[in-house]
């Protein structure tokens, strides 16, 4: 009898607990029909932007998603990486140095103000000014007069860049410090968006409640929960919203967001977490998205380190051939990456097939090359990575592959988080190699070489320096046309294989998905879902 009584008690407790939770489930379902937002809105797991919503102050993906929906720059790119004009009628040049921008007429900001040459020029001058501490101010450094508004030390000498001149309300010219055949491609970055006059009254308040010229109008920002934007009727660009609005909802984990997509509380997820990857195609069916985009992962040697100082490139080529990219991307990385065949990912202008076997797994040749090059000093090296980003598994696998193929001892050098990892890179404290990653800012091959391996490049944390390659890149920048420049950079890429400033590992793939309530979910060249084109069912 006593036993029966206690069992009743436990059963009772479970029933109470179930009833309490069941309430929550039912109550929630009744209030909402499909998805979670107002009718016709689509939702996506874009988290809290790090910073206020000012175009030149954001380069992380959460913020740029929202900014791209509210603001439109002069031009954009299609899935092949070709230019699509949005706010601009045309952007032309004769000498790659002075560029003429013609704006489309009749464009307005969400508050009714017309978008003119001044909207752009004033905004760019403000962004570039060192006083305003904009994170992306260096994007304007090619423009003549940048150093006056953004000196390395002290106060700016001028408020405006001399290279920007308005011809009339809808035409203006940009004069660069030097020739740059692909400058117009840079203009597609969110940083180049125009600003309405109301911005200058109170930039801080504007950052919380932006007024843009894009396909969506800002509605509300419920911090750490969601940002809501509404389709704007007055938009005239080619990327006019096909839904009624978007909810950018913050999730703490990829898993939580994924669960909500499966259960229909969320429409789209940008990335499926590792635990759900093996089954997401089954769960989502047609909604599963798997697509490569223009981003690359590399192992970058620190050329100032004891190990890789004056290293023979043959050794690096050997190490590259000791990595079994096919197996690692398939097993450890669950097919979320595509093995790299060069320094430039597909989807970028100038992507080419390098005629080389340096990126193919070949243990015998790897051993031989390392021997010919004099070996790795101490026969061991480390790979620095941050443990908060899910890199541990593949770093271990790559090291294992190298050890097995060549006998060179490779170990991970974990840093607790990204901040610590970056600090070590900035202060030249990387002991061997570090995990490098790069997402295209603009879809031209120069972006994957000039910004990473030129001696003076900011992101050249491995401190690779080669006069011949610098010269070739400078020459490619001086080319008369974009095509010539792209071709010249293709030659540079072929040269890079001989010098190995980094060991390319694989190109990124987006493994996202969407639920049954939405359709037409596409991916752009830097791996973002094209929210404006999404339709509701």
């Amino acid at each position: 009898m006593r036993g029966a009584k206690s069992a009743k008690w436990v059963a009772g407790a479970i029933v109470v607990a179930l009833a309490a939770t069941a309430c929550g489930g039912n109550g929630d379902d009744e209030g909402k029909s499909k998805g979670s937002g107002p009718a016709g809105y689509v939702s996506i797991d874009v988290g809290e932007p790090q910073k206020p919503l000012i175009p030149a102050d954001t380069n992380e993906s959460n913020g740029s998603y929202v900014i791209q929906s509210i603001f439109t720059q002069l031009l954009d790119f299609d899935s092949k990486g070709d230019i699509v004009y949005t706010n601009a009628e045309s952007v032309t040049t004769d000498d790659s140095k002075t560029w003429t921008v013609k704006l489309k007429k009749g464009w307005k900001f969400h508050n009714g103000e017309e978008v003119t040459s001044k909207s752009y020029i004033d905004a760019w001058n403000w962004y570039a000014n060192i006083k305003n501490n904009q994170q992306n101010s260096f994007w304007f450094q090619d423009i003549k007069g940048y150093d006056d508004v953004h000196p390395e030390k002290g106060d700016p000498k001028a408020d405006t860049m001399s290279g920007l001149k308005a011809v009339d309300d809808h035409t203006f010219t940009i004069e660069l410090k030097y020739t740059m055949p692909y400058f117009n491609y840079k203009l597609g970055y969110t940083t180049w968006a125009p600003l309405p006059k109301v911005f200058y009254d109170d930039p801080k308040a504007f950052g919380q409640k932006p007024v843009g010229n894009g396909p969506y109008k800002f509605e509300k920002w419920d911090h750490k929960k969601l940002i809501q934007v509404k389709a704007w009727d007055g938009y005239q660009g080619p990327n006019k919203a096909k839904n009624k609005g978007v909810q950018f909802k913050a999730y703490t984990t990829l898993e939580a967001a994924y669960k909500d997509v499966v259960s229909g509380n969320l429409d789209m997820i940008r990335q499926v977490g590792p635990t759900d990857l093996p089954k997401y195609k089954q769960d989502l069916g047609d909604g599963a998205i798997e697509q490569p985009y223009a981003a690359i992962q590399t192992l970058t040697p620190a050329f100032y380190s004891k190990t890789f100082k004056d290293i023979d490139p043959k050794v690096l080529q050997g190490l590259s051939m000791a990595i079994d990219r096919d197996t690692i991307t398939k097993t450890v990385l669950n097919n979320t990456r595509t093995p790299a065949k060069g320094f430039t990912p597909p989807g970028v202008k100038g992507y080419q097939n390098l005629d080389t076997d340096v990126f193919t797994y070949n243990p015998a040749k790897a051993k031989q090359l390392i021997k010919e090059g004099g070996g790795v000093p101490g026969n061991k090296f480390t790979v620095q990575y941050n443990t908060d980003g899910g890199h541990k598994e593949w770093v271990t696998a790559v090291c294992e592959s190298i050890r097995k193929a060549t006998g060179v001892d490779c170990t991970g050098d974990p840093k607790p988080d990204f901040a610590t990892d970056l600090e070590a890179r900035d202060n030249d404290q990387v002991k061997g190699m570090y995990r490098g990653g790069w997402v295209a800012d603009y879809p031209v091959n120069a972006n994957f070489m000039k910004e990473l391996y030129h001696t003076t490049a900011e992101a050249n944390n491995g401190k690779f320096s080669n006069k011949e390659i610098d010269g070739l890149m400078n020459k490619a920048d001086n080319a008369k046309s974009l095509d010539e420049s792209v071709k010249a950079f293709q030659e540079v890429e072929k040269k890079l294989v001989e010098h190995m400033p980094a060991i390319p590992l694989w190109y990124y793939r987006i493994n996202g998905g969407h639920g049954k309530n939405v359709d037409n979910v596409n991916v752009d060249f830097h791996g973002d879902l094209e929210v404006w084109a999404v339709t509701t069912k």
């Binding site: 489930g25 380069n59 669960k259 988080d417 610590t420």
Partner: protein
């Protein structure tokens, strides 16, 4: 009594200053620069980094920064977040109520169910239902909260679809039920075991025999004589548990997507937002201190022999 409370309150001041300084030093000692980290691994401009640091006073020595921070705090200014440029007071005001709601829910659950189970088991020690409870609580104690969290989430939300997998609205008590249960499970097991042992022990004590011999009704014997004495260790535990529940919420909040201070402090920590971490942590310190004061005062209520000078 009044003097005792006053003295305890005064003691809190050095504890508060000490703990904030400690946390401040720890944040300072961590590698990684918050302003630089904000720029990510793409290209950036060091001039901008230096300029932002100067504006925020991050280029000053540690002690100066601490003094600045405390002066601000005394004037009710928690500071500003580096990246989002939002006042930290706002951030805390957004997140704290959520966690408090979750904690109150969990705490009530722990108290009612935990003590209840403990009493039921303790009154009949070494019976089947007692052993059943001991086994059940052993399972709960040995199961990490994330395992239980994922398990319940899987069963209730996906298998049987009786609840939503994650909390979409943190103000909805019904949605908080599942995370609160998970959060409470560990303390619940402790409380139940503690109550059970304490009750089983006191059952055999002299005053119990006296009370029974006096012919008091059973309800009074258990409700007043037994419970009062037996609850002292439980109350001590529960007092400290308030703080533990709030910090323990970090994991549970993550699983169920509850936007409380757990998530907030984790994010701030990984971004090296020192001021945010110190702000939230100092509030936690205050909560711990107040909770332990209340516990000490409750002793006197439970056992009149305990007096405070």
């Amino acid at each position: 009594m009044g003097r005792y409370v006053a003295r305890r309150l005064l003691q809190m001041i050095p504890v508060f200053i000490g703990s904030t300084l400690l946390i401040f030093c720890m944040m300072y000692a961590l590698p990684g620069d918050p302003v630089r980290a904000m720029m990510g691994d793409q290209a950036y401009d060091p001039t901008v980094v230096a300029s932002i640091k100067k504006e925020l006073g991050l280029d000053q020595p540690l002690l100066q920064q601490y003094v600045n921070y405390m002066t601000g705090l005394l004037q009710g200014d928690f500071g500003t977040q580096i990246a989002s440029q939002r006042p930290i007071a706002d951030v805390i005001a957004d997140a704290f109520p959520v966690t408090i709601r979750l904690t109150i829910f969990a705490f009530t659950f722990v108290t009612l169910v935990g003590i209840g189970l403990g009493v039921v088991a303790g009154l009949r020690p070494d019976t089947l239902r007692d052993r059943g409870l001991l086994t059940l609580t052993l399972v709960l104690v040995s199961m990490p909260s994330f395992v239980l969290g994922f398990l319940l989430q899987y069963l209730l939300a996906f298998k049987w679809a009786v609840t939503t997998p994650t909390v979409t609205d943190s103000t909805d008590f019904a949605q908080l039920a599942l995370p609160a249960t998970v959060l409470a499970s560990l303390s619940l097991a402790y409380v139940a075991r503690l109550t059970r042992t304490s009750i089983a022990e006191n059952l055999r004590s002299d005053y119990m025999r006296t009370a029974v011999a006096k012919g008091l009704p059973r309800r009074r014997v258990i409700g007043v004589h037994l419970m009062r004495n037996s609850l002292i260790p439980v109350v001590t535990f529960l007092g400290i548990e308030v703080g533990n529940l709030m910090t323990g919420a970090i994991v549970t909040e993550g699983i169920f997507n509850v936007r409380g201070i757990g998530v907030e402090i984790y994010e701030a920590l990984s971004r090296r937002e020192g001021a945010t971490v110190v702000g939230i942590a100092s509030l936690m310190v205050v909560i711990y201190l107040v909770a332990s004061l209340i516990v000490d005062l409750l002793y006197a209520v439970l056992d009149p022999r305990i007096r405070y000078a």
